[in-house]
């Protein structure tokens, strides 16, 4: 096989229970509801969606920071190295889980929140090395990973607050790379940064990917960044994948109404495309166990009606949230392009 899948996510579900005052479950929040993904080696895999759609839960289940309700994550040989007892993430023993986490680095959204303000950079970057027992030549390793992100020896003995936002994000990346992982999970790495700094970080990430043959899982809500970085991407809506395709295909030929609206909401300077607005508020992700309450309403709500009235005599296309509540099965629209649309 030439194009190997480094991670295969199969029918992953994560349901958080909602309890009433007596402690019995009355509803479920379906953060992930049957997600299937194949992540290729050396490519960037993008995950897009609005807040509350399950992007971050997906990332956390990938790292097994939360236990999935059902489904599995299958690891390739490249990660397991034929030494693990199982290639399924949920069956790993705790020692194997530590070894697995060496292979996967994480970069979080807010760099200041991810760095301990009372530790110097040298300690921050060497901490994962100490935890995973790679203490030989530590100073050299730390310097090497700082050099990789464009920082140097003079930064070793400073505290996080002495750095700018972009430099802090570089430190977080250096720490993630210190253990030489195969996969880097990036959870909105640039959303807290200015455009000019964002450009620096994106360029850096591209360089590192080529240098170390890294696989990226890139989570973002900024479509222009996603378009620039990713080879393949999925669009998520309320815990489900609504569309999956290669980036070019998805941007040129979106199928699902939500994807279409999302793409039209990104500003394109000068080029005139027709806006599609999404009217109404994000529906509650809670699914009641009681059958009569369980179905999401597909009728137009009061708020949507008001908003339709407001824009109906203007030249704007729209879709309403309630129409997105109907769930269609995922079908293959064209080659390697899947979408939840009416067949």
């Amino acid at each position: 096989m030439i194009k190997e899948h480094i991670l295969q996510i199969k029918n992953l579900r994560k349901h958080f229970p909602v309890k009433n005052v007596w402690g019995t479950d009355i509803a479920l929040v379906k953060a992930l509801d049957g997600v299937n993904l194949n992540i290729e080696v050396g490519k960037t895999f993008g995950i897009v969606g609005e807040s509350g759609c399950g992007k971050t839960t997906l990332m956390r289940t990938l790292l097994r920071l939360v236990e999935p309700t059902s489904g599995s994550v299958e690891l390739s040989e490249e990660i397991t190295g034929n030494e693990f007892t199982s290639n399924k993430l949920e069956e790993l023993t705790s020692e194997e889980l530590r070894r697995f986490r060496r292979q996967i680095g994480v970069v979080f959204q807010d760099p200041m929140g991810a760095l301990n303000p009372r530790m110097i950079i040298k300690d921050i970057v060497s901490e994962p090395l100490i935890i995973h027992g790679k203490t030989d030549n530590m100073h050299v390793r730390v310097l090497e990973s700082l050099n990789n992100v464009g920082l140097g020896e003079e930064h070793l003995y400073r505290y996080p607050h002495e750095f700018s936002g972009g430099q802090r994000q570089r430190i977080v990346i250096a720490r993630a790379l210190a253990l030489e992982p195969k996969i880097l999970v990036l959870d909105e790495p640039t959303s807290a940064l200015d455009v000019s700094v964002q450009a620096q970080i994106l360029n850096l990430l591209n360089d590192l990917q080529v240098k170390f043959n890294l696989t990226y899982v890139f989570i973002s809500h900024d479509l222009s960044v996603i378009e620039y970085m990713c080879d393949r991407l999925v669009v998520m809506y309320l815990g489900k994948v609504v569309e999956e395709a290669d980036t070019e295909e998805l941007f040129s030929n979106p199928q699902h109404p939500y994807t279409k609206a999302l793409l039209s909401a990104t500003p394109n300077f000068g080029k005139s495309t027709k806006r599609i607005m999404i009217l109404g508020d994000v529906p509650s992700p809670i699914t009641y166990l009681d059958e009569s309450k369980a179905r999401l309403a597909t009728e137009i709500t009061e708020q949507e009606r008001l908003e339709i009235d407001a824009i109906k005599d203007k030249d704007i296309d729209y879709i309403v949230r309630s129409s997105l509540n109907k769930v269609h099965p995922l079908i293959e629209v064209s080659e390697k392009h899947y979408a939840r649309v009416k067949s």
Binding site: V195, L262, M277
Partner: protein, 343 residues
């Protein structure tokens, strides 16, 4: 509408004087949406705070003039400024949840502004319809006395429970229950002129079921709804000018599109002037007619939106536009901050 001439604002810090604004010139015409873009630390927000003189104690305006509607407000008295803030100039802040008071209902918060700025209108409406101006204060003492009564009642109840004479505690328990019932019914009774005006203000920002929203607390509303409440508050004082400081940064793209559309609609209906402060060039491209680019406390370029995106003149504007990924995979051009000096 608003004319800022050579405005200079300094911040006195332990490390010396920071020139946050270094000669800002702006002219916002009647009935236009004016965008102010720049990176973090360029002085966008300080401009807005200087206009309304909401600067912290360390900040002071050292030069220049601010003319609002032909009136020089550079040295206006605190009394006059209070009339302007929320009266002639409405303001929307970035994070609606931290800008709204968490322990006051929406009704109370919007009512506060109406009492301060629309007192005459409330009285007119009340006499016209023959309804009370605000909620009746009957059966209600000052908060201090209310608290004392409840505390005394609770201590009496617990005293009699301890003594074993339960029946003596019952009257005090009755008083406590009646006070809560009174509050509940008074809160749901939206019949005064003030309440009607609050409901009108909420319906203007296309909120469904305004009576219900008026009685809810900020945390019960979604992010988009909170921002709508903020806009309703900013408009409640019959503002002729709206200052929006990063109004959509905390929101998702789809909700962002709704809020921007709402601001555009209201601006057109009321023929207001809007000063939109943002770091997102996309938002500016969607919304504004004219735009100014700020850098290091100075305005480096000012033009109509179309011209600035098609034909940027200043190297900083060019660099800023180049840094945005716009489709295609070529390496992003990183603006060299050193070229323009560090902020």
């Amino acid at each position: 509408m608003l004319e800022i001439k050579d405005l200079k604002t300094n911040f006195n810090t332990y490390d010396g004087v920071v020139k946050a604004l270094d000669g800002v010139n702006l002219k916002i015409k009647d009935g236009e949406i004016f965008g102010l873009v720049g990176e973090t630390g360029s002085g966008k927000s300080v401009t807005c705070y200087s206009v309304l003189r909401l600067l912290p104690k360390t900040g002071e305006i050292v030069g220049g003039s601010i003319v609002l509607n032909g009136e020089d407000i550079t040295n206006a008295s605190e009394k006059r400024l209070r009339e302007i803030r929320g009266g002639e100039v409405g303001i929307i802040f970035q994070d609606p949840l931290s800008a709204l008071n968490p322990v006051m209902t929406v009704n109370e918060q919007i009512g506060e502004i109406l009492v301060l700025h629309q007192d005459k209108e409330i009285k007119e409406l009340a006499s016209e319809k023959g309804i009370p101006t605000s909620k009746s204060k009957k059966w209600k003492a000052s908060p201090g006395i209310e608290f004392t009564i409840i505390a005394l009642c609770i201590s009496f109840v617990s005293l009699f429970v301890m003594l074993g004479q339960y029946s003596f505690g019952l009257p005090f328990l009755f008083v406590i229950i009646m006070m809560f019932l009174r509050d509940y019914f008074q809160r749901n009774n939206l019949a005064s002129a003030l309440d009607l005006m609050v409901i009108y203000a909420l319906s203007r920002v296309k909120l469904p079921n305004p009576a219900q929203i008026a009685n809810s607390y900020p945390h019960e509303l979604s992010g988009g709804m909170q921002q709508r409440v903020m806009i309703a508050m900013a408009l409640a004082g019959k503002a002729k000018m709206l200052i929006a400081d990063e109004p959509t940064t905390a929101l998702d793209v789809t909700i962002q599109a709704q809020i921007l559309q709402l601001i555009k609609d209201i601006q057109k209906e009321e023929n207001m002037s809007v000063l939109l402060i943002t770091h997102d060039l996309g938002v500016v491209a969607e919304t504004c007619e004219r735009v100014a680019v700020m850098y290091k406390g100075k305005i480096v370029e000012e033009n109509t939106v179309n011209n600035i995106f098609k034909n940027p003149q200043h190297p900083y504007t060019k660099a800023l536009l180049d840094a945005i990924p716009k489709g295609g995979k070529e390496r992003l051009k990183v603006p060299d901050v050193g070229e323009y000096g560090s902020i």
